[in-house]
Symmetry: C2
Subunit: 400 residues, 2 copies
């Protein structure tokens, strides 16, 4: 139907299917080693506990689980999340409110929908999370990027952008164990970023899916914990510490913004599925959540270190990489005039896949010499084999 194509709203026109769709398609195939995803280790899912919990809920409180719930979320879970945010992250001022959302992605999409007019300026880290970049594109934001340095966003560049472009309204950041770089923003930069935002009436959208997955006990303050003015929208999730398939996340922000998000969520999915919300709550209450997360941290630390060890053994010398202290990703750079989309296609022929850097850029058409590797999802044997093959493929593509 010819007219259907014309009927598509302008906001959707910048959103195209991924250029590396065929690589992603390979990721699930047997025999393929995938460093492409951002998925938790399935062997740590508390299957039996959740089986017990779900059956209990449906027997003891079936009406709560199966009937419509309120848009703001299952009240006991909201309370437990608020409590945890306060204890762990020192988040939750008097003016703040917390709403349960259907995964962090929904929190991000809603924050953008309620705030960004077509043409409004938004600054993102480069590279950054594609889910947010695409949500911003879908609301026709005018995107600006600042490079991620070893200690987070380049704030000089940010200040420069803010000065030059007064229509900038929001800054999007993943300050801790950033996706895709694995890098964390220093305390000093967090403070300066917050001050910059205050001074310029900017909203900070802080995305923190990986904050609890640190390899050591050093704890960086969330930007939201510094937020005396109510300008930080904080998005968190159970996806990386319990299960992504449940789709339970949360947003903590100034109550006026959460009010708007609630109105929008009402017309978006009415409320987050009740059973997953109740399961998250019951798991938090019945089981020692932190012990469980501790196991994850230890496993991911081992896998990250092991992967880097193997990379240092097998990768071409010119290939540099970040050294994450938590999270799920290592960022690599071929440091030269290479297009990692082409390299990824070549490597895929040897049945190893990863995500090329251009995917994470504001301008996806521009070639990038960077790429992202995920280490959380796979055992030592697969990591070793995959990195060995990848090293060989990379060498084929770019030399020693």
């Amino acid at each position: 139907v010819v007219f259907l194509e014309y009927a598509i709203a302008n906001r959707m026109k910048t959103l195209k299917g991924s250029a590396i769709r065929e690589i992603f398609k390979m990721a699930g195939k047997p025999g393929v080693i995938s460093f492409a995803g951002g998925v938790p280790a399935p062997e740590l899912f508390p299957n039996e506990e959740l089986a017990q919990i779900s059956a209990d809920i449906l027997r003891k409180e079936p009406e709560l689980a199966l009937q419509y719930g309120i848009t703001e979320g299952y009240m006991p879970l909201r309370k437990a999340v608020k409590q945890r945010l306060l204890e762990k992250e020192n988040i939750g001022k008097d003016f703040d409110e917390t709403i349960i959302v259907s995964g962090a992605q929904q929190g991000i999409e809603h924050a953008i929908k309620i705030l960004i007019n077509p043409g409004d300026g938004v600054v993102v880290e480069q590279p950054s999370f594609i889910g947010t970049l695409n949500a911003l594109r879908s609301y026709e934001a005018d995107l600006y990027s600042v490079p991620v340095q070893e200690d987070g966003m380049d704030l000089d560049r940010l200040e420069d952008l803010i000065r030059k472009h007064p229509h900038i309204k929001m800054i999007y950041t993943i300050p801790t164990f950033q996706n895709p770089t694995g890098v964390s923003m220093s305390i000093e930069k967090r403070k300066t970023l917050y001050e910059l935002a205050c001074k310029n009436n900017l909203i900070i959208l802080e995305d923190n899916p990986y904050g609890e997955l640190s390899f050591d006990d050093e704890k960086l303050p969330t930007i939201k914990s510094l937020d005396t003015e109510g300008i930080v929208i904080y998005v968190g999730t159970f996806s990386k510490i319990l299960s992504p398939g449940l789709r339970v996340g949360y947003v903590c922000a100034h109550q006026d913004l959460v009010g708007r998000i609630t109105v929008n969520k009402q017309i978006s999915d009415v409320h987050t599925s009740m059973l997953p919300q109740m399961m998250a709550y019951e798991f938090m209450t019945r089981y020692p959540m932190d012990d469980y997360i501790q196991k994850m941290r230890a496993l991911y630390k081992h896998r990250c270190n092991f992967m880097i060890e193997k990379m240092d053994e097998h990768f071409p010398e010119r290939c540099s990489h970040t050294n994450p202290r938590g999270g799920l990703f290592i960022w690599c750079d071929l440091n030269g005039d290479f297009d990692t989309v082409e390299v990824a296609r070549e490597c895929a022929k040897d049945l190893v896949v990863f995500v090329p850097g251009s995917t994470f850029m504001v301008d996806m058409e521009k070639k990038s010499s960077g790429f992202r590797l995920n280490y959380s999802n796979m055992g030592d044997e697969a990591i070793e084999k995959g990195i060995r093959i990848l090293g060989r493929s990379l060498t084929k593509c770019i030399g020693k």
Copy 2:
């Protein structure tokens, strides 16, 4: 923070909190009889079956339930829904595709987001479902309404609107057991509506949450079943035939449109929660779904008839009502210069609540003499008592 208010995107500015918020708040309170909701009878939820199913899933296929899924939905459920749509509704041409969404509301919101530019014209039935009206407002649609007659939309008025306003792009309809009127569109009107849409390059958004809840065996064809051109977006849900709390619905539309919805869902909630999808699938497969729906139909038929009987006994004579043959709602009209927002406030003092007509109108500020009653959620005793009190309150407000 003063600037936060200024920061809100234009699209959200027409979306205000409900004027009858205080009435809705009463609905859940003890001692209050609520005809306000649109919720299934909880005594028919298959609690034990779903408890068993959820535990089985988490023990047998934990990784499928807890890990990320694909945006299009859990494949066996998608197949089962396609199969059911084909068998029950004759829906599913070669060009069609089906995607699982997080409740029908999400399907509606996504259809609007991918198609409606600010200022695009959309025609809705009047009265209509507030969730869709607000979703349309949030994308700054230019709303036009046509009255619902005894046999559905006033098509003369529709034709007139289409002729006068060439920027009309979409028609939203709930043709079967409409919310809030309970009225169904005749076969003739369905055909004419479809032809009108084809002739004028309009998209029809067909919302059918209540179609399976008919009181008799007469079956009206869905508009989608007439769709030889691929211009109808059909939205369905498990909310009214299994459980609304699970938040599982689906959209069947031309594959190009479903492709766009998929791209948008990816940045909206990534995918619908896996466990609820798998539970819906297992319930459909393991249990005789139609027997279960048959029980619902019989119960709602009884409650609807019983409520109308009591209304005829207790309501003022000037109050007319529709005679639904399925669904969840009766629409009443006080037939005079009355504002049912005021009437609803008065009745609420006697602890009976319902939704006043203006809520369902394009112009919510205009007073309406209509109101909606729900009969599905409550036993005979509560219905009888509620209608008796309501009759007394109404008589107090408007006389005999």
